[in-house]
Assembly symmetry: C2
Homo-oligomer: 370 residues x 2
């Protein structure tokens, strides 16, 4: 914990924007005044400069390499966050198709996506976990999707509720599977070939706010109408290698560094999955072994590896817990108001030591206050 | 020029992303690991954290103070660049209005805006400078705008051609004036009350790539249809103080620092205008006193204070000029292919010393090679 102490840094459990690797921040700091091999800061460099083009390509290629993404897919770096994807996806893949799009609703982010999709075309909510206050995801027998759906949409990890699909939801062959991976992008290996489109705003598990990665199967690029606003057409961005207009150069630079860290320092997606399981298990064990002092929000078989959500017996104890955590360099633990309690986000960049320190505090606090 | 020498930095005449104040870059570097008063990097901080909310408000308030913007206007920080504004403006202010929008075309950026506007409604190009290869802007008697236009749109400074309006174009009372100020935002005092909407992507004159400032008169906020994609409705962003979704936190942070520099270090917009006139005059004088060796692209009465565009007698001399400039720490001077020659961008953050060094080189080079 030396770096936390020497720089006043704490273990930061923010749900997003969220913790980044210390080594990445150090590189950004060290290169801020002048990018190595260049004569200015990255912030001052034309996006058409070969040095930046190389940075962009390296970020793309590192993501491709980590995830095993073939050239059948385009990898785009866009602006506007998940919120703009909520509209771009149906604007490109649903509007004018004469079809209906299937949506699985397992939390707040899926709900927002559905509201935007309804503006663009016919939406069929095939599963809705709202009545359980979003404490689970459906099994394959719990819903059905028509063979001629425009696509099946789901959010892999709902950050507010802390529920996560353990595997891809069942989807008929020929229906593109569309995934919001904003809060768990690259947290474990996936078979990207099962997906038509996967996207993630970077600021939870992959970088800073300001860039959204879209992985889209190339045959889907032509579905968007040319009458769409130009920025909203995936094809424009794919044809121009994410330089249809000035991309968010800084956020792409940092995302590329995070991807490199994941590849070179961590060892890839199998290694990060192992680490993520260790970290979240420490916290879920603290919940399960507290004799009911802590109550987890998510059903055990839907627990998120990224966001661990739980409540304490009452509001006073929750406030005391948050205060004691802060005194121990453990910050940003307050849960979202819709679920309450505590939310500990342990994204890729949260060190194991941070999760250990929080688990220890949970055990100690429960012993003292149960 | 000590800082350029000690860090390998050069005077950077890039058209955008472009030069930033050295003191701003130093602050970003020094605060990268841990934001003062906080326990993490700005990059890792929730956009709902009070520390970030204060940064956002300070950026907004500094821009308001510099430009004299009253509460009759909202100041928004958005993503998607000017390219998304090309669509958002007509989507909000033209579509469904039953009116036509008037556009003045004085360069490449106006042309792109018109192409997007035509997707949203009826467009009337009231002036087109294409036949002159965009070397001028119209006078007030050169075009007319109908009283019932949805708005009158213009680009104040065309970066590629280096032509700039010296004052607001004539516009009938009651027709909102809409301005793309992407390459000269806050380069001199303006009376914002003459405008319905002014916007600027930050990466030329106000900050890094990744954030676009939109100043919009509040009565225009209600014109956008609720059926628009949520991200494209100005009202959503205004109602949520630019936190309708996660804003580009880093770019806003840096933009706020640039605005503070402009206010505290430079002394405001009158002071920066004086400096900008000094810098560009040095270069235009070098053109005018070269005996025809350098040929300016813009007509003298439309010359840009930000982008000085000129050609040399032939391609070999142009290549030699660029090489000699680079050897003298003067970089990113190559003009856009549509105009050719040299483009020296001397935005707000370009120090007077940089313009002096370039003017000296221009004089010396002309003496040797004329």
């Amino acid at each position: 914990m030396s770096s936390a102490v020497t720089t006043q840094r704490a273990y930061n459990f923010s749900a997003g924007p969220a913790v980044l690797p210390v080594s990445v921040l150090e590189q950004v700091r060290d290169e801020m005044m002048c990018l190595p091999g260049s004569r200015c800061s990255l912030l001052e460099m034309s996006h058409r400069d070969k040095v930046f083009i190389d940075i962009l390509h390296d970020a793309e290629n590192t993501v491709r390499s980590l995830m095993g993404i073939s050239d059948d897919y385009a990898v785009l770096f866009l602006q506007g966050g998940a919120a703009l994807q909520f509209s771009m996806i149906p604007a490109n893949l649903l509007a004018g198709s004469g079809k209906s799009a299937a949506y699985i609703q397992t939390g707040v982010w899926g709900k927002k996506a559905i509201a935007e999709a309804k503006k663009e075309g016919d939406v069929n909510v095939v599963y809705d976990a709202a009545e359980s206050n979003f404490n689970h995801v459906p099994g394959s027998g719990d819903y059905s999707v028509s063979d001629d759906s425009a696509y099946l949409y789901f959010c892999n990890n709902e950050t507010i509720q802390g529920v996560q699909f353990q595997d891809e939801p069942a989807c008929p062959a020929g229906v593109p599977l569309v995934c919001d991976a904003s809060s768990d992008f690259m947290h474990k290996p996936v078979d990207i070939n099962k997906y038509g489109l996967m996207y993630a705003c970077a600021q939870k598990n992959a970088g800073p706010a300001g860039v959204t990665v879209v992985v889209i199967r190339r045959d889907l690029l032509d579905r968007g109408s040319k009458t769409l606003p130009g920025y909203l057409q995936y094809k424009n961005h794919a044809d121009a290698d994410s330089e249809w207009n000035t991309p968010p150069t800084f956020a792409i630079w940092v995302l590329g560094k995070v991807a490199r860290w994941l590849q070179d320092d961590i060892g890839g997606l199998e290694a990060i999955e192992k680490l993520n399981r260790q970290k979240s298990s420490l916290l879920y064990d603290a919940i399960d072994q507290s004799g009911g002092f802590y109550t987890g929000h998510a059903k055990p078989d839907c627990r998120s590896l990224m966001n661990v959500t739980f409540t304490l017996p009452n509001d006073d104890l929750q406030a005391a817990f948050i205060a004691e955590a802060a005194a121990n360099d453990l910050v940003a633990l307050k849960g979202h108001r819709s679920v309450g309690g505590i939310r500990a986000s342990v994204y890729n960049a949260m060190p194991l030591e941070g999760a250990k320190a929080l688990a220890q505090l949970m055990n100690d606090f429960a012993s003292k206050n149960a």
